[in-house]
Assembly symmetry: C2
Amino acid sequence: MATSGRADEDGPALRIRIDFCDRPSLGPGKVRLLEAIDQAGSIAAAARTMEMSYRRAWLLVEELNTMFAQPLVSTQLGGSRGGGAVVTPAGRMVIDRYRKVEAEAARATSALLETLTRDALS
Amino acid sequence: MATSGRADEDGPALRIRIDFCDRPSLGPGKVRLLEAIDQAGSIAAAARTMEMSYRRAWLLVEELNTMFAQPLVSTQLGGSRGGGAVVTPAGRMVIDRYRKVEAEAARATSALLETLTRDALS
């Protein structure tokens, strides 16, 4: 069983999206972007490591910053593409909770996924 | 907490996609289509109830029928759009397992999702 949220030769994996009632959903792409910004220190650098356009990364950050009660990414001035960006404590909390939801869901369903693989795939 | 896989006023819900290593993934859209075919008895009628084009439904059924060891939908002759379709025992098993994975993941993560809602959304 893959527990990392990525399927591998050991078996299938879950991809988790959290649907909120009246706002955008939170899935693996936004969470990976937050983690990349946290590592890279800027939206532009994070977009490059994810092979995503700067514009798309920026739009996702804007969505992330308005869908929760507090902004998840804080940007510093520095020209249209030059400034740095940091993940706020609220952002780290959202990353952490999402990864915990993912791990807990993978743990709880691993036996079911194994039987699905055994019975339906082979 | 919504446990049906659909967010409502009670809180967020998980949307689950199962990623297999070397084949298409299985998510809520394909499973709902299988359930609609099971109810409606034809791909065309199922597509209509899902407000999906017949072509898209047909392509999804073709994908479902080749990604598992056995076909999930069996189609009867009857012209290009006229024939009936039934969900096979393998198809019912896949629906059942997916819904169980979904329910188990929702159950296992409900407390985490509640704290995410409380801490990040309000």
